[in-house]
């Protein structure tokens, strides 16, 4: 058992691609936590997807034994956090489990939006911030400029800012020394009723939910009966231990320590991130602060491309949900796409990850409809309808007004792009709040922006128009009234529910026009002419025609050609499976996301 004053709990926080996972790898290596022969890149990222995309989705924790330069042996607990805005809540809980944070900044890029957001999260959680500049080995590094920005952000002085190359290992030991010297030891009461914070959880199909915990007060033992305060779930601890980095069972977890608790509970929704685990017999009365149930923000319809795969999709979603409390799904039936699910996600990355896992791990082929946010339609009779599928927006005559979610967005850009950002934001119904200079070259701009614009393509546009220099962070702000209408798309006179979308009224005409043009390009010629129309209510606002194909037959087919010809047609038939048959019309799957491909100018005001 390590004395409380020899424990240091810290995390590394950074903007995406600033070298967080590389620094973690180096730390594990120099401390001998992982033998050189077991070392691999992004060691803490276990999922294939994380490794391929170079991102962290799940938090990880690892216990490190470190003999500092003062000759003492310390227990360091490094908590690796997700780096994406979709998982801000998980990050905030991981930070709540720490006393210190290494704020890592790529000195070729400088401070970026998530650097700022993460720094604020760390400050909110009273963490000691250890500012570190990374990638000093690169020729493009600009240490003085990055230092200035870090100083502006954290108040850190020149002497407090460390410089490292996580790639070469230069300066990494200094970081560990700073963690020992500057991070305060945990401030818990070993004698108080036991409390532990769940900062992440994972589902194992054999063992049930594995809760990642930080013991705040008291301690936990095997066979102890515990209660999850938020959900009221009671369970017996079957196993507990720490990560080294693989799971190492122990008899007890003490105050200040970080590790895992397995209770045999089979559902992550019962062991929620942010909840407090307490002793059933000697319950603490107060939960740890910050517990909340995260709500999905982005919704989309997921439909199996083959109609008979509905049950398989349901099973797969059920299994994913075991490990992902934030994933929401409800059965939905579409006249165009058949049976599927309306799914809710924390954000676009979360959506992407879930879809990719469904396709990859469960072998499902999916058709995704245009993502949308959750609208609140207030009706003239005083009631409110939650609309997660544009097709279900009530008829305009019953609606008093509609509200949509706005986010508080923070955008960091070099000063020369301020005008570009203002222009973009104005076109996207954003309200300017304020801006402040991080350094003479960089500015942080704050806006209130409809989340729907981010779902559409705001981030891509931001990157494109600033040549990649801008970075974005946002959090939910509030529901606000907007003048929105439902735009319906009709093919051959029939409304296709899966193509409906909610748009700002003053944009409805132009967007309808752009969308039918895009659909006309996306839908291949059919054997007969097909009208593509956009309508608001019963009023058609745009129309295009998909021409009938005029010729589709191979010129020659004699005795030697029959097999080839037949195989060609059979192959085409298979190819058609990737098409959705809507009435007599074959619509390629990409068409359902056509709105994402509209020219940016067609989306601006």
């Amino acid at each position: 058992m390590t004395a409380l004053d020899h424990i240091r709990n810290f995390s590394i926080i950074a903007h995406i691609d600033h070298g967080k996972s590389t620094l973690a790898d180096r730390v594990l290596e120099v401390t001998g936590t992982v033998a050189a022969r077991d070392m691999k890149e992004q060691l803490l990222d276990k999922m294939d997807l994380e490794r391929e995309r170079g991102i962290t989705i799940k938090s990880q924790a690892v216990r490190i034994a470190y003999t500092a330069r003062d000759g003492q042996l310390y227990q360091l607990n490094l908590i690796d956090t997700p780096g994406h805005v979709d998982f801000t809540y998980e990050v905030s809980r991981s930070l709540a489990a720490c006393e210190g944070a290494v704020l890592l900044v790529d000195c070729t890029q400088g401070v970026e939006a998530q650097t700022v957001a993460n720094a604020y999260l760390a400050i909110d959680n009273d963490l000691e911030i250890i500012p570190v500049l990374n990638k000093i080995d690169l020729p493009a590094s600009n240490i003085p400029e990055a230092e200035l920005e870090l100083h502006e952000l954290t108040g850190a002085t020149h002497d407090e800012i460390l410089i490292v190359s996580a790639k070469t290992g230069e300066g990494v030991e200094d970081v560990l020394e700073a963690v020992v010297a500057r991070t305060p030891p945990p401030r818990g009461d070993p004698a108080a009723p036991a409390r532990a914070l769940i900062f992440d959880s994972e589902y194992d199909q054999y063992r049930g939910v594995i809760a990642y915990v930080r013991v705040v007060d008291g301690g936990f033992s095997r066979r102890q009966i515990v209660t999850m305060m938020g959900t009221g779930q009671e369970a017996e601890i079957e196993e507990l231990g720490y990560f080294g980095p693989e799971m190492k069972p122990t008899e007890r977890l003490e105050t200040g320590e970080v590790g895992y608790i397995i209770t045999g509970v089979k559902d992550v929704a019962q062991v929620r991130v942010g909840d407090t685990i307490i002793d059933k017999k000697r319950p603490a009365t107060e939960g740890l602060p910050g517990y909340k149930v995260v709500q999905p923000m982005v919704f989309t319809g997921l439909f199996p491309t083959e109609g008979d795969k509905f049950e398989e999709l349901r099973d797969a979603l059920e299994k994913l949900k075991l490990n992902d409390a934030a994933l929401m799904y409800d059965p939905e039936s579409s006249n165009a796409l058949g049976f599927g699910f309306r799914c809710g996600f924390l954000g676009l990355l979360h959506m992407d990850i879930v879809r990719e896992r469904l396709e990859r791990e469960y072998g499902l082929e999916l058709l995704t409809t245009m993502p949308n946010v959750e609208y609140h339609a207030y009706l003239t009779n005083g009631s409110m309808v939650v609309v997660r599928n544009p097709a279900q927006m009530p008829d305009a005559t019953y609606i008093d007004h509609v509200e949509e979610p706005f986010v508080a967005a923070s955008i960091l850009v070099p000063t020369e792009f301020v005008g570009t950002i203002m222009e973009l934001c104005q076109g996207r119904r954003a309200d300017f709040v304020d801006m402040k200079y991080l350094s003479p070259q960089r500015v942080e701009m704050h806006y209130r922006l409809p989340l729907g614009e981010i779902v559409l393509d705001f981030f891509d546009q931001l990157k494109t128009r600033t040549r990649g220099y801008a970075s974005l962070d946002y959090e939910f702000h509030a529901y606000r009234k907007s003048d929105l209408v439902k735009l319906d798309i009709l093919l051959a006179g029939e409304s296709v529910d899966a193509l409906s979308l909610i748009v700002p009224r003053e944009r409805a005409h132009l967007r309808g026009k752009a969308l039918v043009t895009k659909l006309r390009q996306k839908i291949p010629r059919q054997m007969f002419e097909v009208a593509v129309q956009a309508a608001i209510g019963s009023r058609v606002v745009a129309r295009e025609t998909v021409k009938a194909m005029r010729k589709d037959v191979i010129a020659k087919c004699y005795g030697g050609d029959i097999s080839r010809k037949r195989k060609l047609l059979e192959k085409q038939k298979k190819g058609k499976k990737r098409m959705k048959q809507i009435g007599t019309i074959e619509v390629p799957q990409e068409a359902f996301l056509a709105v994402l491909e509209l020219e940016p100018d067609d989306k601006d005001h």
């Binding site: 005029r550 010729k551 037959v553 020659k556 087919c557 030697g560 037949r566 038939k573």
Partner: protein
């Protein structure tokens, strides 16, 4: 009782490619030079081909014919087709020898077709083609059907195909007709890179001026890997291709030709019976390198290399072949796709396993197919898009 069964059996459609063989194709795998759009099995042998090689080929066909005739239920032949390659390259003597192999087995009314290139059609060839008896014995008709590979009447367009432009197809056609070949077919190509609408009109006028009994008019298909495909970076606009095609169909139909298959047109009584056998899914034997046969539920393709084929046949062995077994559903799909090309009705019971009836209904509503008396038929309107129609009709 047996009567009833017999009636029922009679009513049930014969499966595709079932029954005795009445049709033989011989593939002559030699050309003077390979055309730039060609992806057929053929070897360029130059202007002075090695006579021994050509003689060897005739011998090989004799051996293969003997063997195949014994192996299958081959009856009197209704059609014989000498294709290629360039059969006319063999010259009248060898062609005569080749024909002699089959004469004992041809019916007196048999259709015997020889493909010819304009450069091979001299007076001697024309005289032979006009006078060659089709079958042995009294009363047997004389004269062959000649299919002349004209491609285009514009030398520049023939050159664009890599086809040697010297020989004038009109002159060759004239020689054949003067010699007395009555059953003449012209092969033409449209969609040649550089071909303008006016060029197409000129070809149409030239063809109608000659008024052959039969016309095959193909849209050039740029087979991947051919020199022409490599040269033609830009593929033709779909609408332009369709416009040329529709123009040909309209012009020839107006001139009295029956558009009886996607790319084939005939004056009354002059349809190519051999090719109709393919399109009606009748069993056929193919002899020669690369030739394809289909009998019953089996299709096989001879080895494409002339040398390997010759080695086997001259040793009295069967040439190496690739075999494809055709399941009932496969044959039904072929039946439909072939019938679609000609607008032949197919009895629905024959297609039960593969037809999407709902799709058939919506295509009928659009006038692309017609459902009548328990049959399905692709209409003339549907024939332009027969590929898409079949894809839609196939059950997924």
């Amino acid at each position: 009782m047996t009567d009833v069964l017999a009636t029922l059996r009679h009513r049930l459609p014969a499966p595709a490619f079932a029954g005795p063989v009445h049709h033989v194709y011989v593939h002559v795998p030699f050309c003077r030079a390979k055309c730039d759009y060609c992806d057929f099995a053929s070897a360029a042998v130059g202007d002075a081909p090695d006579g021994a090689l050509l003689d060897g080929f005739v011998g090989g066909v004799a051996a293969e014919w003997e063997r195949e005739r014994a192996a299958h239920d081959v009856r009197r032949l209704h059609t014989l087709y000498l294709g290629g390659g360039t059969p006319s390259l063999l010259g009248p003597d060898r062609l005569e020898r080749l024909l002699e192999l089959f004469r004992p087995f041809l019916t007196s009314a048999a259709e015997v077709t020889v493909e010819a290139n304009p450069e091979d059609v001299d007076e001697a060839f024309a005289a032979w083609a006009a006078a060659a008896p089709r079958a042995r014995g009294r009363g047997s008709a004389c004269g062959l059907r000649v299919s002349l590979g004209a491609q285009s009447f514009a030398p520049a367009l023939r050159e664009a195909l890599g086809r040697r432009a010297r020989a004038d197809p009109a002159a060759a056609f004239g020689r054949l007709r003067r010699a007395g070949v009555a059953n003449l077919s012209l092969d033409l190509i449209q969609g040649i890179p550089g071909q303008a609408a006016a060029d197409l009109e000129a070809d149409i006028a030239a063809v109608l001026g000659l008024r052959p009994a039969h016309i095959s008019w193909y849209e050039l298909s740029l087979a991947a890997g051919t020199p022409l495909a490599a040269r033609s970076a830009r593929s033709r606009d779909e609408d332009e291709g369709a416009a040329f095609y529709r123009r040909v169909v309209r012009a020839l139909s107006r001139a009295g030709y029956d558009w009886y298959e996607v790319s084939n047109f005939a004056l009354p009584g002059r349809k190519a019976r051999h090719n109709l056998a393919y399109w009606r899914a009748r069993p056929y034997l193919g002899l020669g390198p690369g030739a394809v046969s289909t009998v019953g539920a089996r299709r096989w393709t001879n080895v494409a290399g002339t040398a390997a084929w010759l080695r086997a046949t001259s040793a009295g062995a069967r040439p190496p072949r690739e075999v494809e077994d055709l399941g009932a559903a496969t044959r039904a799909r072929e039946r439909l796709l072939l019938a679609a090309r000609c607008g032949d009705p197919v009895p629905l019971p024959e297609l039960t396993a593969i037809l999407d009836l709902e799709a058939a209904g919506s295509l009928a509503a659009a006038g692309l197919v017609s459902l009548h008396s328990g049959t399905i038929r692709v209409t003339r309107k549907g024939r332009y898009v027969a590929g898409a129609v079949c894809v839609r009709l196939f059950r997924g």
